[in-house]
Amino acid sequence: MRIWTLVACGALLGPVGPAAAQVSVAGIRDLAFGPVIIGIPSTVAPSDAVRSGQYRFTAPAGSRVRIDFDLPSQLNGPASAKLPIKFGKTDAVIVGNAPGSVPTALDPNPKANLKFDMGTSTAANIFLGGTVTPAGNQAPGSYVATVVLTVTIQ
């Protein structure tokens, strides 16, 4: 055990090899419905420049990546109140950063098997929208949840 600890400490202090191609995934902007009207569905389109969620990922040009969303079906509010949320088949849009890249609509729902060929792009932006449906007797307050994006390198 002591030897293993020493090895671990030594490794932690050692130099890092030269970085090869890198990947990054970042949430740039939260999906923000803002105030909604009780009893009336509220939709944010992925093309909404202010309220849509935005992710950005980078990967080596030419690589193929798989994209998986983990989406909530409801948001949590005050005193355990719930608010349903749905994501349509075109509620996500992806576009690479290469010149001439065309925005492509994606189905963010699970098992949609999303993939993206980087081509000459080295980064891509994903925009996410959705629809919440507050009930007529929806408890007032703030409702929150988390969307998880997983990017898998082949």
Binding site: V7, A8, L12, G14, V16, A19, A20, A21, Q22, V23, S24, V25, A26, G27, I28, R29, D30, L31, A32, F33, G34, P35, V36, I37, I38, S42, S47, A49, G53, Q54, Y55, R56, F57, T58, P60, G62, S63, R64, R66, P72, L75, L83, I85, N113, K115, N125, Q138, P140, S142, Y143, V144, T146, V147, V148, L149, T150, V151, T152, I153, Q154
Partner: protein, 277 residues
Amino acid sequence: MTRPLVALLLAVLPAPLLAQGVLVAPHAIIIDHRTRSGSLSLYNPGSEPSEVTLSTFYGYPVTDSAGDFELRTVDAPDSTAPSAAGWIEAFPKRMVLAPKERQTVRLLARPPANLADGEYWARVVVSAKGGTVPVSGLADSSGVSVGLSLEVRTVLPLQYRKGRVSTGVQLHEVAAAVEHDSLALRPHLTRVGNGAYLGTLRAVLRDSTGRTLASLSTPLAVYYEMSPRLTAPLPTAGLPPGVYQVQIEAAAEREDIAPELVLASPPARSTLVVRLP
């Protein structure tokens, strides 16, 4: 739909990374049994602290019926699976990266004593989330305000090599077709040897005079077998009726991985004829 999207993208593409996320390098980890360690470099490019967690699981890429890449995962791999997921540890496993902060994570292997020669695989998951859950908008006593925060995960391949490891790939049953404005290829690739095949697949479409009309190049990672669907754009004028030749080559080269980490193997080639009526 297109105009708002273009406006949106023009507005946001130059934006720096503002929220939670992490940059990871390298994007493929290869560990040798002699050193039993590797490293990952993490960087938080954002303006908020990022809570980062590392974990591993066993999985490898395959293709689905449409030829799209997906990850086959096994929750509890048996003894015959070449899984390294159970004995790869990250140090540190959890951390909070301050804005613009870098952190080196060491990956240390503790393989079983009787580990046979060969290659063992795992997937490393780097999860990042912001330190706070934002609530968007203002809610007064009668209103409802809704916000969803974003978390991100990056899944990277890890290969652990012990002793003599060899690889190669065989090209079978290559299907080629012209679909609208693209050349679509569907090669069936089978790995040989005991290590995953990392390489590049290149294909060119030529006419009867030898003129190149379309080409593609894509990285390959064949762990067992796969049939990826690949496409290459055709000339905008289209293709006149005639006989064309498609040449395909899989070579053990990767632009994004250091050459010394790619297992050498002879190239695999195939040629087929495409007739357009």
